[in-house]
């Protein structure tokens, strides 16, 4: 469907709404328009679908954008923080799924905020360039999610108060396991 078949990035998916502009729902479009209006070129709207808006941000701007999402758009909690490893791009993507309980019009909406950190070939979790600003001071609910992403992909969140391991054993000395170069035996 997409011309870019070599690389699995979510960016090509951004072209999809433009292929069928009829399907863009008005309310979700309004949300993305507000963000675009505020930040302009600093962000990229990946797609606008029913109940889902996806925004790609560089790591320098992610803190500001998140702050605007909370204060300007009434989103109040993060449902999930997922790390996705892209070895070909030498990047690790961190995706925040942000929702809202307090605003009744946003109850079915999920705003997907994605940002990317630099990826190291030989990671030293916490002491290499794979770093992102933590969103914990904006969304308190990311605390455990960011700890999980740190141990599973080695993305260190600067400003996070508690960077211990969560799920992995304390003596885990291998690669962060959700990186693509951590291979499962026999597969």
């Amino acid at each position: 469907m997409s011309s870019d078949s070599k690389k699995p990035t979510p960016k090509p998916a951004a072209k999809k709404p433009q292929e069928k502009p009829v399907e863009i729902p008005a309310f979700e479009k309004g949300i993305s328009d507000k963000i675009v209006e505020k930040f302009g070129d600093k962000i990229e709207v990946a797609f606008v679908k029913k109940d889902r808006v996806r925004i790609n941000v560089s790591k320098e701007n992610v803190h500001d954008v998140a702050e605007f999402i909370r204060d300007g758009l009434n989103y109040d909690h993060v449902e999930s923080v997922s790390g996705v490893d892209y070895p070909q791009d030498k990047e690790i993507e961190v995706v925040y799924h942000i929702g809202s309980y307090s605003d009744s019009s946003l109850e079915r909406q999920i705003l997907i905020l994605s940002t990317r950190a630099q990826r190291e070939e030989n990671p030293i979790p916490g002491n290499d360039a794979t770093k992102l600003p933590s969103l914990r001071d904006i969304f308190y609910s990311v605390e455990f999610h960011e700890r999980e992403v740190f141990e599973m992909l080695g993305v260190y969140f600067e400003g996070h108060p508690d960077n211990r391991r969560l799920l992995l054993p304390e003596d885990w000395a291998d690669l962060p396991p959700l990186r693509k170069d951590f291979a499962i035996k026999g597969r």
Partner: protein, 377 residues
């Protein structure tokens, strides 16, 4: 390197008055996790949950299997709620593959997922009972749960790990005469769980013990991003079955149970009310279900997903359960992330236990509707 440890990794200095208790992983009151509790006398001054003892790398495994073979292992995090834990993944894969599900299959899914919700809550309630020292409340739900497990066995062929939902519908059609048996069992079950009020929920000792302990205010429940019964016990009316209806939930009449108190008692009562509500939903679905028709769309072997990302969520027995699937046009998903309610509710544990008495730890901990295996995935 020792001098420059990142925040959170350095060793802490602890007062001599403080005793550190390792509650778990081998402890009758912890489940498969460890709660490091620091107590001063009878009061908890700090609590640090340490999950991960049953981490099985479901997300990593999912990257190596194709969309269909992922089904049996992705339901393992909560085998008691296996239909619901699989549901968002199946919905997501259906969107990625572009499949439309037959009407009858949607109703079968609703019935299965509501039955599963009851099965899960019964198990949860049993453990809540034994955590409070009420052994009758351990045995009754564990026994009455068998009714529904028998139903699920009739429907799917397995007692707990059903693997019943597949992209495009459900694996098998209902057995003949299932509707009557289901209606009869569910009617009895509903009558039976209402009796629990007399022995458990209206018990004065239980009420005096759990009222006003571990209070989670509405603001904090939202700020901490809790979900499910924890959120609804704090006065937030949020149920995905109603707010973002999937499959045929928009055609059914669903009542959301909300309580304002936000204490352990409210958090423990909400799942029980949910079960009664689930019984009503099952009866409605049995009535409205098309009596015949296909239950499954035939898939191509090894289907490939669109080059897209999809995030789907359902209301499970513990709260909203999301699944984020990244596809790269291959038969295997590029990344599957389960955003599980237990993991989201866990963040409230240190917050709630701070300043509580040690005796309240089990009731507060288990009232979070927490399933350790699910949080570890």
């Amino acid at each position: 390197m020792t001098a420059e440890l990142p925040p959170g990794l350095a060793l802490q200095k602890v007062d001599e008055r403080i005793m550190t208790l390792n509650v778990g992983p081998q402890h009758p009151g912890s489940g498969h996790m460890r709660i490091v509790v620091q107590i001063d006398g009878d009061y908890i001054v700090a609590c640090d949950p340490d999950p991960g003892y049953v981490h099985r790398g479901e997300e990593k495994m999912a990257e190596y299997r194709n969309y269909i073979t992922n089904i049996p292992h992705l339901e393992r995090p909560v085998i008691h709620d296996s239909c619901n834990v699989l549901y968002p993944y199946v919905l997501g894969v259906e969107e990625l593959l572009g499949i439309e599900v037959p009407e009858r299959a949607k109703y079968v899914r609703v019935i299965a997922s509501e039955l599963n919700r009851c099965i899960y809550i019964m198990y949860w309630l049993a453990i809540y009972g034994i955590f409070l020292g009420h052994s009758t409340m351990f045995m009754w739900p564990a026994g009455d749960r068998e009714l529904l497990i028998d139903l699920m066995e009739k429907m799917t062929g397995a007692r707990v790990t059903h693997a019943h939902f597949v992209p495009g519908g459900v694996r098998n059609d209902l057995p003949p005469n299932f509707e009557d048996v289901c209606l009869r069992q569910v009617n009895y079950f509903e009558k039976r769980i209402k009796e629990y009020a007399a022995v458990f929920y209206d018990n004065p000792i239980l009420i005096s013990r759990t009222r006003d302990t571990g209070i989670l205010s509405r603001q904090d429940a939202i700020r901490l991003g809790t979900t499910g019964s924890v959120l609804r016990a704090s006065g937030v009316d949020y149920d995905l079955r109603k707010k973002e209806p999937y499959d045929v939930y928009d055609e059914l009449d669903i009542h959301t149970n909300v309580m304002k108190e936000g204490d352990s008692y409210a958090r423990s009562r909400i799942p029980w009310l949910d079960m009664i509500e689930s019984c009503k939903i099952i009866k409605q679905a049995l009535q409205k279900m098309p009596k015949s028709g296909s239950v499954r769309v035939k898939l191509k072997p090894n289907p490939k997903g669109k080059n897209e990302t999809v995030y789907k969520r359902v209301e499970s027995g513990r709260g909203s359960l999301g699944c984020y699937v990244v596809s790269d046009s291959k038969p295997e998903p590029y990344r599957v992330k389960l955003s599980v309610p237990s993991f989201r509710n866990l963040i409230a544990l240190p917050y709630l236990l701070k300043g509580e008495k040690l005796g309240n730890m089990p009731s507060v901990y288990w009232s979070l509707n927490y399933w350790p295996v699910e949080a570890d995935r």
